[in-house]
Subunit: 505 residues, 2 copies
């Protein structure tokens, strides 16, 4: 790197480090709000968050940033950057262009609207009042349509949105993937519905004291290799994971006294997200590459730990004793096998976040198809409830009795997060495909789990995925790790094998 | 306010609000570091704190700020500002001028040196190695001397430092005050030493489980009117209070299993600081006036609650039952009177932070006199240990066996905080004088305490002191509330009366 470029590079690194400092502070301000900030201070706190977000945003779209990016774009300069530096620049440029392209007054309108809209959505959900929410959602969609024009239309308009959460994912690819998945999962779900077998779940309907649940969550997180010196577990209304920096990755869970599995699985889920960020190469700290590479890959790590490990028979063969020791009275007549079966009960239901591992994907496909209709086919917001209900009837054989448990159930759209839902199923598919490779490379995987030796799993994932952070794109990772592109058959194979055995199909 | 000025005023308010946002974020980042941030994340966190502090600092000394302050300084503009706005401007101007007057490279040298020096101090204290610390402390003192020149010498050089913590306090005033106090307290301490009475404290040397201590601290804080919806109690190595915003004022304590009084008194102490900030007029939120007016007045509130209320006989007559209920085994044979006496044992000791309510002031006077000698009389850093030891012998009849428990015991000087110590005794004196007025205005004060009715005390303090925040100076507050200037006789009267009775002098 010539001396002049080197000076610019140092300036760039400092500017980026500064932006990351705002993000760490904002991350902590949010984390604190959700885990125990005093109620009366939240109004002032929200204002503070708004002010500091704006400061961070200004740096991202600053003239200084624009000039530096222009310098690095010159061929004689770009060729002097190593691969990692080029990725850093690309990542920053993507944010810069996205933010820079929206006129400030449009962005402000969007910010204000989406926060109003979230409040309206909450009321509307509560009262099953889609009509009351519709004007807000319509305006959000209209603004998002404008944004797509500013950002630039990719293959289709909806492609532009997909790419924001899953870089380089397209409607063309995803249509094929989801069609294939749907074609295999819908019959599986139907077969299970016809099955006479039904896992027993009565023993889950008891009182499980919170203190014991917390101890168990801490134990399981330790087992999976979550580093408590680089993170902590707290309680919040909705579980989440947040990486403040690569050595401070916090998770939360929610303990329900009448549902012992909820906290266990949310701990494993958020623990999976956290393992990813805790094990990113420390060299990437302070750069924009120190995080998960996409929502989909992130979700693959949470779901691999939650479902593919945490809902496996070997897992419960090993850990049921611990569960029982924490709740000896409640579970004295229960076996590991019963617990395993109960944790894998399939039930067609209306609510995504309560869905089982299998039908969950159908909830996502429904949302994907509807979002695509909105942005690519001109489906109006007014038509959403009817479309929603028809698809639920088609794929899950259920019609929501009201919009509160139907089209109004999720927060995402109220904040304008279109294109996000697909990540959840992408996560499942990536996870199944990664697991398939892991089984080849760690042939005694089930034995290890059954012996409670989870460290080799974490090490393998660190080596294959975690350490790369954002320095590889999702498609690159999946290709390098598994040798092929994303292939939905791995998830379908996994689910078919698992549920055929459980439901004796 | 004319339209042009109004525009500038709005700009000023926004700029100030922005600086306050940095302070809230930094306050939370620090609080988090001390109450449970994961160990491995602290290096990156410290870097983040450094970066955001610099950003906040840049705003304070920005050209924009300089221009606005110049505008408000023009007579035709200043006369358009109301009293509160003028105070706001004055407060901001003071910070601006202080920060602006130091050349950036000097400031940076000081920042780096003081953080190195704190590390060196820790080692030196551990090893009683004053010689190893001396070069750092000498450099700190030399830089502070330079700073005094930049800031401008007031009546004396040391006056400049005093004024930073206690606005408008001077060596002339403080010399007279401390001489008077010393003249009355030294004989009192000597009389107590000769007394044959000795409060029994053996029952304090038992095991008091942490969980119960915590419950009791929470109960007492609630009793004094600390608002848990505008604050929270956590544990940290050193107890502290921090106002993130006027409705988010947090405190910490430290539970020692072998010392039940430590957490009680640190909770009352930090609770006193917190009550002050929680009850500042909400109109002052988002302005530089939303905090305590000086270190001395702040300390008066912590010490009033900790010592004058919390170490009073009426307090223990009321709350001993609660203490006993939390530790029924440990305290079954103890009475309220015994507890009261034990909590007021006077002992000449070497360590300031372990000192009792009476001798504490002598520890402070020693430090004040030494600091004054350094800055006004050219006492060299090399001479500090000998000077220290001579004064401890003079005032407390003790000579430290080594510098670790002598001149090296406090962190303050290693960070350059000269002029700070006086605040602690100023706090005691303000508190005694305020208490004297409170007794006149709430004649049944002791009865109220004995009945556990502490709310009127909080209300009185809110009305007289808390609500004003920084909109009055310390001397204005004490004059308005008590009708006279700071007078050390109130503290001396209070201590003489209390200890003459306890020690049957």
């Amino acid at each position: 790197m010539d001396a002049q470029l080197h000076k610019h590079w140092e300036q760039f690194q400092q500017l980026v480090r500064k932006i990351i400092s705002y993000n760490e502070a904002l991350g902590l301000l949010y984390w604190d709000l959700r885990t125990g900030a005093p109620r009366k201070g939240t109004d002032i706190r929200s204002e503070t968050i708004g002010i500091l977000s704006t400061e961070g945003f200004k740096l991202q779209v600053s003239e200084e940033m624009g000039q530096l990016l222009a310098i690095f774009a010159e061929p004689q300069n770009e060729q002097q950057l190593d691969e990692r530096s080029r990725r850093m620049v690309a990542e920053v440029r993507k944010n810069y262009e996205q933010s820079q392209s929206i006129p400030p007054e449009k962005f402000q309108e969007y910010t204000i609207l989406s926060s109003q809209s979230e409040v309206k959505w909450e009321e509307a959900k509560e009262n099953s009042d889609f009509a009351g929410f519709e004007p807000y959602l319509s305006r959000i969609v209209a603004l998002k349509q404008e944004f797509i024009d500013y950002w630039g239309v990719k293959d289709t308009r909806y492609d532009t949105l997909l790419d924001m959460y899953e870089p380089e994912m397209t409607v063309e690819k995803l249509d094929a993937i989801f069609d294939r998945l749907k074609a295999r999962l819908v019959p599986l779900v139907q077969a299970i519905q016809k099955s006479t077998f039904e896992p027993e779940t009565g023993f889950l309907k008891q009182l499980f004291p919170k203190e014991q649940q917390k101890k168990l969550s801490l134990f399981l997180l330790e087992q999976m290799g979550y580093d408590f010196e680089a993170g902590r577990l707290d309680e919040s209304v909705h579980p989440f994971a947040t990486g403040l920096n690569p050595r401070d990755v916090r998770i939360t869970t929610k303990f329900h006294q009448d549902d012992v599995l909820s906290a266990i699985y949310s701990s494993l889920h958020e623990g999976g997200h956290a393992l990813y960020e805790q094990n990113v190469d420390i060299e990437l700290a302070g750069t924009p590459l120190a995080g998960g590479t996409s929502m989909g890959i992130h979700e693959s790590q949470s779901r691999l730990w939650e479902n593919m490990i945490g809902r496996s028979r070997p897992f419960w063969n090993r850990y049921f004793t611990d569960l029982q020791q924490h709740f000896p009275e409640q579970l004295k007549d229960v076996t590991a096998e019963q617990l395993f079966l109960a944790a894998n009960r399939v039930e067609n239901s209306l609510i995504r976040i309560e869905a089982d591992e299998l039908t969950y994907n159908l909830h996502i496909i429904i949302r994907y198809e509807i979002e695509k209709m909105i942005f690519n086919e001109g489906l109006s917001v007014k038509e959403l409830p009817a479309t929603w209900n028809a698809k639920y009837q088609d794929y899950l054989g259920l019609t929501p009795p009201n919009d509160g448990v139907g089209v109004l159930q999720d927060v995402h759209w109220s904040g304008g997060d279109f294109g996000y839902f697909a990540s959840y199923s992408l996560g499942n598919m990536y996870a199944a495909q990664i697991l398939n490779t892991m089984r080849q490379e760690i042939p005694n995987l089930d034995n290890l789990i059954e012996e409670g030796k989870l460290a080799p799993i974490k090490e393998w994932l660190t080596d294959k995925i975690y350490k790369y952070g954002k320095s590889e794109k999702p498609a690159e990772i999946i290709k390098r790790v598994t040798g092929e592109e994303l292939n939905p058959d791995y998830l379908a194979d996994y689910l078919e094998a698992k549920y055929t055995e459980i439901y004796k199909l």
